[in-house]
């Protein structure tokens, strides 16, 4: 896209701040996904140190991650953040100039779990029943797509706006008939609270996508630093993609909400290779996903301005990084090159 031609900063910033969804593990924050791998590898910190730049990680809890990161971007307190499609788009639409600079793989699965004892096999069976979802969270889009495909509308259900914690309690207590949520649904199923009747495994294209987002001002002023950060994430993705690192990665991930067994099942039966989960490549699928999100949020008046992908997605860093690191062709996706359409 066209960006204002601003000169690179003469001086490097003192710190680079990366925010990411995190969990508390043994009293300390553990980051979600690749961020923790980046930390563990220590490469980024070392590279930045050589340039006299400190690396600062900002852990944000999942429940308020979106708003916190958006506010941090707006206040220029953070430079990069790994988070979801929906909140990032909201920020962009609200005038916070950020853009997606890598993908974080195929995205997250969403699940539909129904309470014990309810004879429902599909979403259609839930018509007129109560369905809990946390409004405004990224997986609402997935639900919208599912409903759309079946010719259903939110108004066909008795919708309860519940946060996940409350939703699981209500499900267990039989106070709602179904919950639409993320992979914790597997855990709930294991605990006997209900049965999963649908997931994005049947429609991988509806998965919620996450990626690394950056403040545009920062990337234009510090392209080299940005490249370093992106390269670190690519290296982390490469590490995680190695089948021999699978167990180690799952162990890291299990420090979040879900035990390894659940993660295994979340990752299972998806076809393709293990490494597909981690591809940083921004491909056309990624771009069209954001087009969809943009359209949906605008049509549903969740945002006031429609965001054009070309202003919002910048594949140049990741493309250059893959090149620099000699990883061209390692992941199967076809990178978008040139301006995003």
């Amino acid at each position: 896209g066209e960006k204002p031609a601003s000169k690179p900063a003469a001086k490097l910033p003192e710190t680079v701040t990366i925010a990411a969804i995190s969990y508390t593990y043994q009293g300390k924050p553990t980051f979600n996904g690749l961020s923790q791998v980046v930390i563990n590898q220590g490469w980024l910190e070392g590279e930045l140190k050589k340039k006299g730049v400190a690396l600062n990680w900002l852990p944000v809890p999942t429940s308020v991650g979106g708003p916190l990161i958006n506010e941090g971007f707006a206040a220029k307190r953070i430079d990069f953040a790994g988070y979801g499609d929906f909140p990032a788009l909201i920020a962009k639409s609200g005038g916070v100039d950020i853009r997606a600079i890598t993908s974080s793989g195929q995205g997250n699965n969403a699940y539909l779990i129904v309470r014990k004892g309810l004879e429902a096999k599909s979403i259609e069976d839930l018509k007129g029943k109560s369905l809990a979802i946390h409004r405004g969270r990224p997986w609402e889009l997935t639900l919208a797509k599912l409903l759309d495909s079946k010719g259903l509308k939110l108004t066909d259900f008795k919708i309860y706006n519940l946060n996940p914690q409350a939703a699981y309690s209500a499900l267990a207590a039989g106070k709602v008939d179904a919950v639409f949520t993320l992979s914790e649904a597997i855990l709930q199923e294991d605990k006997g609270a209900g049965t999963i009747i649908w997931s994005t495994k049947s429609n991988p294209e509806w998965k919620m996508r996450t990626g690394l987002f950056a403040r545009t001002e920062f990337t234009t002023q510090n392209p080299e630093l940005t490249q370093t950060v992106v390269n670190a994430y690519i290296k982390a993705a490469h590490w995680a993609s190695q089948p021999e690192n699978r167990a180690a990665f799952l162990e890291l991930a299990s420090r979040g909400n879900n035990p390894t067994s659940v993660l295994e099942r979340d990752y299972a039966n998806e076809g393709g290779d293990w490494k597909d989960h981690f591809s940083p490549i921004i491909d056309q699928g990624f771009v069209s996903h954001f087009d969809d999100v943009s359209k949906y949020t605008f049509e549903n008046k969740l945002v006031q301005k429609e965001v054009a992908s070309r202003d919002f997605i910048d594949p140049t860093f990741v493309n250059k990084g893959i090149d620099e690191l000699g990883l061209t062709g390692f992941w199967k996706e076809t990178p978008v090159t040139g301006p995003v359409q």
Binding site: G66, P67, N70, E71, A74, A75, K76, P87, I90, A91, S93, G94, G95, V96, R135, G136, R137, I159, Y160, N161, L162, N163, Q165, A166, Y168, S169, A170, A172, A173, K175, V176, L302, V303, Q304
Partner: protein, 251 residues
């Protein structure tokens, strides 16, 4: 003379705040994405009123608040008095009361959902819990501080407990109890909004939370101001009550 200064000061201080706010945003000292200007808030205000959203959210919240707050505060008053007046009640319930009043009601939500479901009763119970404790504590603590001589006069005339409470203890402790009621209103608001975040489709809290999720800080500010103004109004009401109850001091 004096009342004039009072009026001037109490009107000018909020006004000054408003002017500073407008100035800060006009000079773009902070990014407009986060510190929205008063004019933007007024615009958002117009928007949510025009769509009827504000009215809907507000009436939902106020209904919940009215139910939960009045139940919680009045039960709190009774319980606090009982705790202060009866040794037995104090011995049996005192420790539990002191421990329980420190625990955020939000921590009990899973259990409450199990017991009460997720409909209005549940929300009202949560607010009632939040309203209960400040009033109970204020009543307990200030009745404990009532001079012995008042109890002696009352006991001399063998005033029944309701006379003791209504004619002696409440007047003697009204400033502190009302302060407790005012705090309990604050806390009810807080918990109401929190509860609406967790389990609701409507209400001021939901409006603010959605505003935040959707990065509409102008709408969040509308919520802030509406909550502040309503809280202030209710608070004024209590102050008037207090002035009425204390007229024996100045009459």
């Amino acid at each position: 003379m004096k009342p004039d200064l009072k009026l001037i000061l109490s009107v000018s201080s909020p006004l000054l705040l408003l002017i500073v706010w407008q100035a800060v945003t006009a000079f773009k000292l902070f990014p407009p994405e986060v510190l929205v200007s008063p004019t933007a808030v007024v615009a958002a205000f117009g928007e949510v009123i025009a769509t009827g959203e504000l009215q809907r959210h507000l009436s939902e919240s106020l209904t919940r608040l009215a139910g939960g707050f009045t139940t919680g505060a009045s039960l709190g008053l009774l319980f606090g008095l009982a705790l202060a007046l009866s040794k037995t009640v104090e011995q049996v319930f005192g420790p539990t009361f002191q421990a329980l009043r420190q625990i955020p009601v939000l921590a009990f939500i899973p259990m409450l959902i199990l017991l009460l479901g997720i409909d209005e009763v549940f929300k009202i119970v949560i607010i009632a819990k939040a309203a209960f404790f400040p009033v109970a504590l204020a009543a307990y603590d200030s009745v404990k501080g009532v001079p012995k001589s008042y109890f002696e006069v009352s006991s001399l005339y063998r005033a029944p407990w309701w006379v003791l409470i209504s004619k002696i203890l409440i007047p003697a402790t009204i400033p502190n109890i009302l302060a407790g009621v005012r705090l309990s209103l604050t806390r009810s608001w807080l918990v109401l909004v929190a509860a609406e975040l967790i389990v609701a489709d409507s209400g001021l809290g939901q409006m603010m939370e959605m505003g935040r999720q959707m990065f509409r800080l102008d709408i969040v500010m509308v919520g802030v101001i509406v909550a502040g103004v309503i809280g202030f109004g209710l608070d004024r009401l209590f102050q008037l009550l207090q002035a009425h109850a204390l007229r024996w001091k100045t009459a």
